[in-house]
Symmetry: C2
Amino acid sequence: MGAQERTQREKAILESAIKLFNEKGYHATKMDEVAKGAKISKGLTYFYFKNKEDLYMAVTRKAFEGLKDVFRDVFRTKNKNGLQMLVDLVQKYLDYSQENRMYYQAILNFMGMLNLYNNHELRKSIDPLILESEHFQKLLDIHHDCGKFGIQMVSLGIKDGSIRPELQPEITFYTIWSMLIGYERLSGPVNYENKEIKIHIDNWKPGFIRLMQDMLKGSIQASRPNVVQGSLF
Amino acid sequence: MGAQERTQREKAILESAIKLFNEKGYHATKMDEVAKGAKISKGLTYFYFKNKEDLYMAVTRKAFEGLKDVFRDVFRTKNKNGLQMLVDLVQKYLDYSQENRMYYQAILNFMGMLNLYNNHELRKSIDPLILESEHFQKLLDIHHDCGKFGIQMVSLGIKDGSIRPELQPEITFYTIWSMLIGYERLSGPVNYENKEIKIHIDNWKPGFIRLMQDMLKGSIQASRPNVVQGSLF
DNA sequence: AATATATTTGAATATAATTCAAAAATGAGT
DNA sequence: ACTCATTTTTGAATTATATTCAAATATATT
């Protein structure tokens, strides 16, 4: 059996896992079924992956690799100023996680782990086996890469005047990212007062994006009504 | 055994659960230990709670009740305009979930469930036993109440001129809430370029709040009241 | 006190994750 | 083509826990 076949097996397991996690979620997915889906024996999944969580981390890694591609592609587009790039990123980011509900869940879950990981007190609540795993380590890198792309987009926007110059790129980008995360967690129909006033993802989204733009936009954009521009300079 | 003692037991179990979920997280907490912590037998926990998840929902309900109090208290403060209320809310919301990491996790988890719940396709991935449970039903109400308070604050701000009049209260409030959720998920030290830790919760927070204020503020505000000093901008 | 009802227990059961000893396949050297 | 070593694969055994349940105990009611 060559390296390709080994990879083949790993892929089969991963695909089976993605399919099942997608359909039933992490908990309701049984390692037995994952194996069956990949047409191998139960035990073999443990040859290729340390345990169920490691398998989930591998899925998460795939999810984050896709996300990084989104960041990279947006960053590489020509003829766009920084603000336009960010708006584009937001759209594509939301599309990506809309299309891949399971990926979105995995990404969110990893960020929750990161939150624990970054806290000296709470870090010990993560399985050490996972912390040392290749997938987790790689995920740290990929997450960082995404951050780098985003921060550069804000910097670019400040340079080209599309974003307010007094904003700090790191903080600004992480605030945008946090908006995206929260947006997705809250999105879906939201009833208000049992009236028909419903906030649904499809009509929240444009308002959400507009708010974000207003928050960032610099001098080269038309000014907002009712706001004294430049009050900070 | 009177109703008080019954409640006593329930409380003891809940407290034991909170303590353990806090220390080890949901998964690593064993029903055995919960029972031990409450000084009762394992089986009795199943007399008071349907199952482990139901117990977690009960904890979540406590968490959300506390959060609703935060919303209510802020809403009731006199001599504050709408924007000031919202800024105050954001501060207190973040404080609340900073102090209660486990509550924060529970709230976030419930919102994830809500996301599934609101999607006709995905709803079936939630345990029906939970959907019908008193705790879940109550949580839907409490969540809704929080939304109502927040939306009213935005409406108030629009009326009193502290918030831009063209903003739609529902969308605006849910955007703010989504920012908060994402902020917490991302917060904690974030390394950038392996240089010194640059973005930490404590210096991200003021910038985050100011960005939010800028996003909302209407004509009557030239300066920014109630802003944490020492901002990075 | 007798009976009914509610609470409590802990051993039994069920469900999955995980391990592991043995079997099968592969590959390298002869 | 035949060792023998290494890698891969299997599935039965083990382990860990959530959950159930029949029996025991406590409490309330008449």
